[in-house]
Symmetry: D3
Subunit: 248 residues, 6 copies
């Protein structure tokens, strides 16, 4: 149930029984020689839509550009400053809370978003916490990374072991191959498994990771593995979402 494909009257009807909404958030950034720039947004979007269908929950439009300053050394990467992303999330949650939504479940496709999105939740809560007489109805936000649950982790380990790596992973590339089979890319990966390490700004990142990957061999990805990872993620997040909105 995509919000974009509803009428306002349908949303009004939904709110009579439900207060939760799913918000996919990704990133637009390099994913190595063969990964799509939209990898993180695509993964978040398709999995969030899957969760939305399974949970009969509304899914907001995808936040396609996240916090990716460290990838700006590679063409096509885009970022919001953390302060900008915080303002965006404050406005999005504020808009939806205005209508009565009170559970905001973010399905995240990008590790680089975690800190800023979490800070944004605190920014949103702080407005309420600074008021002693908090008679605003309580709202709650949750961030879930699609790959951080036992079901997905187990598949990733089984499929790729140590070649999973940390950026431009075969798992995320596989999910995009499943979602966009016509956009599967191939290119030499040298070395096959990319180096590990840390990074600070974009220049530092590019110096340490010349082709953009960290610790991964995305050459191992396949659409079929992508399908299984997708299904595992949808299953795990659907349960998590339903448990969460049912609590208190």
């Amino acid at each position: 149930m995509q919000l974009q494909l509803q009428t306002w009257m349908e949303v009004e009807a939904y709110l009579r029984s439900d207060r939760g909404i799913i918000l996919p958030i990704g990133s637009t950034e390099q994913h190595g020689p063969t990964g799509l720039i939209g990898t993180d947004a695509i993964c978040a979007e398709v999995i969030a839509k899957g969760v939305g269908e399974a949970a009969e929950a509304l899914v907001a439009p995808t936040i396609a550009v996240g916090m990716a300053q460290h990838h700006l050394g590679f063409a096509g990467s885009m970022t919001l400053r953390p302060s900008t992303l915080i303002a965006v999330l404050r406005d999005l949650v504020g808009s939806l809370a205005r209508h009565g939504f009170d559970r905001f479940y973010f399905v995240n496709g990008h590790g680089g978003n975690i800190a800023t999105v979490t800070a944004a939740f605190s920014e949103i809560y702080a407005e309420r916490s600074l008021l002693a007489a908090g008679n605003a109805p309580p709202i709650k936000c949750r961030l879930r990374n699609w790959w951080q649950n036992e079901a997905v982790r187990q598949l990733s380990r089984e499929f790729y072991g140590d070649a999973e790596g940390a950026h431009a992973t075969p798992s995320e590339v596989a999910v995009t191959q499943f979602a966009y089979p016509d956009a599967i890319k191939s290119a030499p990966l040298d070395p096959p498994v990319a180096p590990w390490g840390e990074f600070a700004d974009a220049a530092d990142y590019r110096r340490n990771f010349p082709d953009g990957r960290i610790g991964s061999n995305p050459g191992l990805a396949s659409p079929e593995a992508g399908r299984r990872l997708y299904e595992a993620a949808v299953g795990a997040l659907t349960k998590d979402y339903l448990d969460w909105v049912a609590a208190e």
Copy 2:
């Protein structure tokens, strides 16, 4: 050529010959009893993709939530504050300019975005204009509303005449019906042609336009008309884009 479906190496190759990029921007807001909440984002996205294909130009991910404060009286509508949207556009253009893009062509699906996007362009330019020694390479931004060109206007007049109206128009609804034929909605429209008028904030809007429409009868929309409007818009904007990037 969607940016999201490229690798960074493909974008690097593109930049050797091209410097322009197309950015669809829409809105997430009520469109009357039968219009989709995502109408403006959908129209901007599908038309921008059409232009991208025709012009062999890259298309950035859609900015799905725009400036729609006046629609917040209707469930599901979302807005960015103008100051937030300005910060977003500054970061998006700044990211892409970092790679060498210098022509930013926004395909807009929402009248309410025009002022803020135009102000954002000035905010971006102002940073450069305040520096006397402007040795940064010049960048240019352009906003085009998909419905404001002779080809589309002529079709709208021909199809709907005075029932086109100003919000939740049959033209935009038709384009979404063409794009998402499975999401065609029906509901009573009473009166068939909605009233005209002005509005200030969300409460004022809802008072004046009880079902969300302004001056329109979207009941006249059809997917086939949507296809023709889509083609007219793509044709007009493709020419405009190509002329623009070719100039100087």
Copy 3:
């Protein structure tokens, strides 16, 4: 009735029967070889004062510096960033709304202000629209450019035809000549009618319009024409203002 020349007790008395206020907004920017840097502020101010007298309405102090980043390539031009101007307008309207004013009528002297002022209105409205329980009394803002009404347009056409142009127009220069006859300047205008075109930042503007004018021949201006333009503008805007504050 200039606000600056009232006491607070007089304003309090005014508010017992009236809720509208007129706010002139101009710009401080080059206007070609013969136009005054204060042209836009002067036009807005004198016409707003005229409207205030005719409509017996209060006139706030003139916002003399507006959004004029594109003119910074010419000495003496000043700008506020759009984000700054939005904050200014939010504070000004907020201050006056605190006292009970609820109709804010901006008489504008500068095309470059339109987008930012309109965005500022949305920023102001958004604060209210994001609150579901909008028990704040409704406020409304309107922007009117003094030259965009039939009476003024007709005179401009009659006086200057195609030499009116778009920046440093003979019409606006004429109004300043009427207002400040001691400050009439003369200088060579070469070519007599300036070129047309588009612009982005200040460097781009100066490249395209070497002496600052766009499409105009301000050499045709005269104080007498200025008087007639002034009277036409005051007449048109007074009627518009009175109709507006009388509605609902």
Copy 4:
């Protein structure tokens, strides 16, 4: 020499020999039962113009609304938040510095502006100070209150003694009477000399100073005293300005 009445070519010529500019800053706020709301802006403006003529220096348009949050309990008072005023001053100084101005001399009419304007100077300087390689040409800002010099203080003491007070003073009212003799107001002042005290926000101010005055008896003001105060202020500030721009 008002900036508003120059052309850009005249400003360019001025900059060949001069780098200083005078910026009047006032406030729009209640000044007791008989003082004009524009008192502070009027005083700053007329005195700054006097200094400009005497010193043959350019005078920028008046910043008419300053920091006056404490006066918002009285109708017609307007304020900028300190953070807004800081942004305004940053943009104004930045615009003028772009052209080569490097001495910014603010003639202030309102005690409530002092802290914020001083903070704004630091905000402007901080941008430069945070850069180690400061190859930007040095700029300097100075704030001078028109009433804080020996010449004016002596006259105020002579004319009004203890009845000068701290807000809505007979001295400032006298200057406005000299400047706008047609706008001289009269109203009962009870008690003749207002109480002294401190204040925090607007409610606190109004509680302590029911008619808006602090410690003053503006009933003693006269246009003739205003003329002498004006002349004393212009004399003192002209010397101060000329010494300042001549130094180093």
Copy 5:
């Protein structure tokens, strides 16, 4: 080597051989019935000073108030909004980078700071990453929580097992008892081990954790255990700091 106890000449001498600096960051918030409000700031400060001595590194003044919106339901708790804390860290790092420091090692005492501090690092990096020609010398920031290393974790487990909990832990209380033995508090803890759970804003937190603790029994704390935890933390962080500044 506390920065506060050096002269600028001593810092200049330090910078000839060293580029790293340690910045303690804590929080000012309730820590249950017996924990000090300054617990997190105290732990961060004393451990950072210990690391500074062991590593012969400069230690900046403690950032005593962090992001603690969720604790505002308990008297004495203070917070910075995430957006404010990001601005603070940007200014602090910017000031020090101006002098040539390029390794910023934050010793953190509060879990609630992690997301915002990490986002602040990205905000700082983003300014550099958005510039293609990054000729600014590279800077790096690192955040280390004093309790997240094997040495401390082992002691906590050994001392407190499951009663360590997540807020107002016996470990952190013990460190403050070691640091401020005169300020050891006692109060009934009922139940001895506090409940576990999640929280959103301050009202939600107080509802779930009535006396402020989460999962902990701080009644088990002792100054002697505090001394051992302090020494373990200093040892682990000193090694981590020295390895980090030595790398590349």
Copy 6:
């Protein structure tokens, strides 16, 4: 009574009878060849603690970094931009006001903070003043510089006469020697009494005051004089604080 050394229950008990709190604010900046970088923070902190003990009032943690952009030309100096410091003070006061504190007494150690802190008070008040229906309980903020009272001024004159100067004064250095006798520094002071003058940004400051001092001879400082200055300051401020919180 340091806030950091209380539990939340103790603060809750305090608030049953008291509503005032003392907030020390200093700076981290060069203080000449022999003055500590932490001079201003140290003076504010020790004197505030002394006042807190004498007045039995709570003392918040020290704001150690203030507005010191002009000192950035000397190694180790740190600054917050004025806009950042305003945001910090807004959040600190907002947090404490949430608990019922309503008198915020800032003990200041740095002249450079005065304007920004005063502007911050206005920013805080403005939020309340802009609301007509101010039913928030009134709060008041006061800033007191520890050296600006008759008791301290008299001692400074007696001890140092004209060699007191304006920055890196023997008085403030003496207080730090009293507070940190192990950190007394010695270095050649040439000339013994530093020059006087004005300054703008950091480069300007360093040009005019090569070793950082202004008008002072801190070589005259002694711990014993520091003790007497400390006692005088504590005495004067304690009386001022108690009178203030007792009023109305």
